[in-house]
């Protein structure tokens, strides 16, 4: 008789995983960062405390802290090695970052939330 844990593990389904971008968590006191394209990655939006601050309207009342989530989406097919190159390039440009989160599609569906 399998345990509940064994049964649960057995239900895992194989999914096709495709790298499509990177969420970069940038620390800066200089306001909303601006980026040129970095290799095959293009900045799509920037949020602060979960609220989109670029592109588009930003309330002057909005509280912003010094930690920005910057979503870079791939403009062509990319591999993990492209992320390493991207991180090196970003660091060389002087950006200080706390974390990077690879963004994957699972069976063609985004495995990451959109920004408000």
């Amino acid at each position: 008789m399998p345990t509940f844990t064994e049964t649960a593990k057995a239900t895992k389904k194989k999914k096709e995983i495709k790298l499509v971008g990177i969420d970069m968590y940038i620390i800066t006191d200089k306001g909303i960062p601006k980026f040129d394209d970095i290799g095959p990655f293009k900045c799509e939006f920037i949020s602060n405390r979960g609220t989109k601050v670029w592109p588009g309207f930003v309330s002057p009342d909005l509280l912003q802290v010094n930690w920005y989530r910057c979503r870079f989406m791939a403009t062509k097919d990319v591999q993990d090695a492209d992320v390493n190159t991207f991180l090196d390039a970003l660091t060389k440009k002087g950006w200080w970052w706390s974390a990077a989160q690879k963004l994957w599609n699972y069976d063609g569906e985004a495995g990451f939330s959109k920004a408000y």
Binding site: D61, Q101, F112, Y116
Partner: protein, 338 residues
């Protein structure tokens, strides 16, 4: 009449428009001078504007800085962003103020409940930062910041002081989430030093839930991070009789939106059956925000009197009155007392 106020009215959808008309009838009869500017929000906007919250509505609220909102519904399982959450984000409405006060006509097992909840409205697990970090693991970032925590505590203490409240407790789980809830609690304690006349303390969220259902009278004001606030504000509404009488306000530094927290009950739309009290008491909160205490008190007194008589109340409190008949009864009561 005193100063004229310009207020954005957001009737919403479902039963929202008939509720808001009833509420407007009562507020307009209270002696306050309000110019209402109607704007669209909610499901009915999808076909017309392709969004639940049109830019025109945002611009009007930005101009007037105060709005009264009827109920709206967020479609489940579609890509549309919630109008409520978007409003909070766009206007940085960081303070969700949710009073829970016993209404005499609703028989409850407690003698006294008079709690004001101050829920942080923009951070925590609601920052919309979620990832499938592998094909079998999902994560949601809980984001707590010092300035976000400090300002909700400061807002709560200031509100408490202005309204003669005596005690504020910070609700948290800092014994487990030492960084995030710890930061929230640290900011609360720092703010508390500025208000020595108000008793302050803290309570772990699970204990707070138990204490609320055992002895709610011990609580005065609570300050909560977003997720605990989401849950405990509904718990408190349940203690006093449900969401049908629960007011709410979402307040930022530059704007305030007052709204009921219940759904739009689309199956009752057009039947004039539902109780408009939650939006009405939210309107009373709005009047107090606008420094129209006399009008607010007048409506409150008349509403309680109508509820107490039970002659013209809606089905949910044992009556047969329509939405607008209940509102008219409150208007008649105000005029009778005048």
């Amino acid at each position: 009449m005193g100063k004229q106020h310009v207020v954005t009215m957001l009737p919403g959808e479902g039963t929202g428009p008939e509720i808001c008309e009833a509420v407007r009838l009562v507020i307009d009869a209270s002696g306050v001078d309000i110019k209402w500017e109607y704007e669209d929000i909610g499901l009915d906007c999808l076909e017309k504007y392709g969004t639940l919250l049109p830019d025109k509505t945002i611009q009007n609220i930005a101009k007037n800085k105060v709005a009264l909102k009827g109920p709206t519904t967020t479609p489940i399982g579609t890509g549309h962003k919630s109008a409520n959450v978007t409003l909070r984000k766009v206007f940085d409405l960081y303070a969700n103020v949710r009073p829970a006060k016993l209404i005499p006509v609703l028989k409850r097992p407690w003698d006294k409940i008079d709690i004001i909840n101050f829920r942080e409205n923009t951070e925590d697990c609601y920052a919309a930062i979620e990832h499938m970090v592998s094909d079998e693991v999902a994560q949601c970032l809980k984001v707590i910041t010092w300035p976000g925590s400090y300002r909700i505590a400061d807002f709560a203490f200031k509100w408490a002081k202005a309204n003669g409240r005596k005690k504020i407790f910070c609700v948290h789980k800092a014994n487990i989430m030492k960084m995030t809830d710890g930061l929230f609690l640290d900011a609360f304690r720092e703010v508390a030093k500025k208000y020595p006349d108000i008793e302050s303390g803290d309570i772990i969220v699970d204990n707070c839930c138990m204490q609320l259902v055992r002895n709610p009278a011990q609580f005065d004001c609570l300050v909560l991070p977003n997720l605990y606030g989401d849950i405990l504000t509904d718990l408190c509404a349940g203690l006093v009789g449900g969401l049908g009488f629960a007011p709410g306000a979402n307040v930022g530094d530059g704007c305030a939106i007052f709204e009921a927290v219940h759904g739009s009950a689309p199956k009752y739309a057009g039947m004039k059956k539902v109780n408009p009290s939650a939006v009405l008491v939210s309107g009373i909160m709005m009047l107090r925000w606008l420094n129209e205490e006399a009008a607010a008190a007048r409506i409150e007194k008349a509403m309680f009197a109508v509820l107490d008589e039970r002659k013209h109340v809606t089905y949910d409190v044992g009556g047969t009155a329509k939405t607008d008949e209940y509102a008219q009864a409150i208007v008649d009561k105000m005029h009778a007392k005048a």
